[in-house]
């Protein structure tokens, strides 16, 4: 019997597997038992209705997909009135995700959300597709600090800050978010990309640029999780290209306390369940009594002397 629970600050999850924001809704109850998940993560809402970006909104690429959905939302009032009660039919903790274009609006939304029944507030300062140029708060440490600091002052709810892999120095941004009072970091959002259709000479998606996700980005994000985990004391949730049990293990070895899954759900809607079951089996096989013991256990010896390493057996 493996203890699958993990703690993200004050929040205990019954297992470390949850959906990534934007890749989940209660619509998934069509194919799975949502109560199996570590947490439920709602799609990002903004204050007002947003239609989202022009289709085509997604395309396949080698190694995953590129998307530019553009945060369509019916607005925050609809979220409170209809979506929160809908999520509350299920037992896992509910993570609500918010986005805004100004720090004032972020603060006001956080104040409202703090009064709602959500269990955790995810601050999405990193959506690359909302601004046509791909800009967002999480690209700069001072922008991140300012917005997180202001939101922190409005609420005692656990606050997870979702970082951007498009930042020049994600470690500096991670530290800024920690300094400003984040309870955990989600590393990371999608990588800004461009796919061009060589038949039509046009961008493959309607908004030109899109966020790259899927197994192809995993080594980049695992590296970022490792670097951020070294630099901050707050827990990290790894997010990027997990499609099998070993990918989740890899993120935890790099320093993640839990993981989020996006692309896999689009391909195999029951994939998250398969990973929860497989992770437990993996722990049994490798003799781990607690899944939480995996976090940050990558063996991290300094590189060997080159000539000595080149004289070692393979493997």
């Amino acid at each position: 019997m493996v203890d699958m629970t993990v703690k993200i600050g004050a929040v205990t999850l019954k297992n470390p597997v949850m959906p990534a924001s934007g890749c989940f809704s209660t619509d998934l109850a069509q194919v799975m038992d949502l109560n199996r998940l570590g947490a439920l993560v709602a799609k990002t809402v903004s204050r007002e209705y947003r239609a989202g970006n022009p289709p085509p909104r997604a395309a396949e690429v080698e190694g995953g997909m590129i998307n530019s959905i553009g945060l369509p939302t019916k607005g925050i009032d609809y979220f409170f009135e209809h979506q929160v009660p809908d999520y509350k039919r299920f037992t896992p903790p509910l993570v609500g995700s918010i986005s805004a274009t100004t720090i004032e609006d972020f603060e006001a939304m956080a104040r409202d959300v703090a009064k709602s029944a959500i269990d955790v507030l995810e601050v999405n300062i990193s959506c690359p597709t909302r601004d046509p140029k791909g800009g967002n708060f999480a690209l700069h440490e001072e922008h991140t600090y300012n917005v997180v600091k202001l939101i922190r002052a409005t609420t005692d709810k656990p606050m997870w800050v979702k970082l951007s892999p498009n930042a020049g120095d994600i470690v500096a941004v991670a530290k800024a978010a920690e300094r400003a009072g984040a309870d955990a970091l989600v590393v990371a959002n999608t990588i800004l990309g461009l796919k061009i259709n060589t038949d039509t000479f046009r961008p493959a998606i309607g908004n030109k640029f899109g966020g790259l996700s899927g197994p192809g980005i995993k080594p980049i994000i695992v590296r970022m999780v490792y670097q951020c985990a070294k630099a901050v004391k707050i827990p990290i949730i790894g997010c990027g290209g997990i499609v099998k049990v070993e990918d989740a293990v890899e993120y935890m070895l790099a320093g993640a306390s839990a993981v989020m899954i996006g692309y896999l759900t689009f391909r195999n809607p029951t994939g998250m369940i398969a990973i929860i079951e497989g992770l437990e089996e993996w722990c049994v096989r490798r003799g781990f009594a607690r899944v939480a013991d995996l976090t940050g256990t990558m063996i991290d010896d300094p590189p060997m002397e080159t000539f000595a390493a080149a004289a070692m057996p393979i493997g």
Binding site: G22, C23, F24, S25, D27, L28, A29, Q30, V31, M32, D33, K43, A51, G52, P55, P56, R57, A58, A59, E60, V61, E62, G63, G64, M65, N67, I69, P72, G214, P215, V243, K244, V245, Y263, L264, T265, F266, R267, N268, P269, T270, G271, I273, A274, I275, E277, G278
Partner: protein, 288 residues
């Protein structure tokens, strides 16, 4: 599909009944053995699979999201949505009729008898049949013809008359006319002899309306024919339903990739084809 490298938890047809515990969940990922898979003409294939009990609960107009094998050395990263052409509950089979166009369908075409097809479903909102209707008209073109199969089958079982207008480039691409003939009358219109022109199809519709053989309209596969039916339906007060297509990622609702434009009382809105459709009210759909 055996060999799927990514984590999944499919129900295996004929092997396990573990899904019994999930009976309240309407759809599932299942591995369905291919019973037969044949070319119908130079572009279309007819695929028959042995389906799970849950998959067999599919209703006309609903679809499955298929994990297609890759047709080349690359990998496919999305499933491909495919509406059902025929539901054979007696033999526990589901049939698809599809056109090989892109990488997904070219990959699907490589499946052989005995291979497993990984499908998620049944998904979406299908066609509605009002038992008070005495005669319906289904109008399909190309691969859209396949989507209209199950509703015609259902109408026949409910003793509702069906006129199927099947539009195609030439006689080779008039598919399933035998199947539709079992359900009712078939009118074939072709590009080669000019009978598929919108003006001619309009005359056929007007004739059916005049004969009181058009209590409801159903269409799939052509925007021009959809616009015609929408216009005619509005002018004559005939309710209509259209099955729509759009590029999808998840096929289940959360991703918001497959949106199309609708207009309700002069106000435009977006709806997801996968979960709010793929069948929509004809007067609310804007077209494509």
């Amino acid at each position: 599909m055996i060999g799927e490298p990514f984590a999944s938890n499919p129900f295996i047809v004929g092997e396990s009944e573990a899904a019994a515990a999930l009976q309240h969940i309407p759809a599932e990922e299942s591995l369905c053995p291919v019973v037969s898979h044949d070319w119908v003409n130079s572009e279309y294939k007819h695929l028959v699979v042995e389906a799970s009990r849950k998959a067999l609960s599919v209703t006309p107009g609903q679809f499955f999201n298929l994990l297609c094998p890759s047709p080349d050395v690359g990998e496919l990263f999305f499933r491909r949505p495919q509406s059902v052409y025929r539901i054979d509950r007696d033999r526990g089979r589901i049939e698809f009729l599809y056109k090989c166009v892109g990488r997904g369908t070219r990959g699907l075409a490589t499946l052989k008898k005995g291979d497993d097809l990984n499908m998620v479903g049944p998904l979406g909102v299908g066609f509605k049949l009002d038992p008070a209707w005495r005669h319906i008209v289904v109008l399909g073109r190309g691969v859209g013809i396949a989507t209209l199969g199950p509703i015609s089958q259902l109408a026949r079982e409910a003793h509702v008359g069906v006129t199927a207008i099947l539009s195609a480039r030439n006689a080779d691409f008039v598919m399933a006319d035998g199947f539709f003939r079992e359900a009712g009358d078939v009118v074939t219109v072709l590009d080669t002899d000019g009978t598929s022109a919108v003006e001619n199809v309009e005359k056929i519709l007007q004739h059916l309306i005049a004969q009181k053989r058009a209590d409801a309209f159903f269409t799939c596969g052509s925007n021009r024919l959809f616009q015609l039916m929408k216009r005619s339906g509005k002018a004559n007060g005939i309710p209509g339903q259209v099955a729509m297509e759009q590029v999808m990622a998840c096929g289940l609702g959360p991703c918001y990739v497959c949106v199309r434009t609708f207009e309700i009382n002069g106000r435009k809105e977006l709806r997801r084809v996968c979960i709010e459709g793929p069948v929509f009210d004809m007067q609310e759909a804007v077209g494509w």
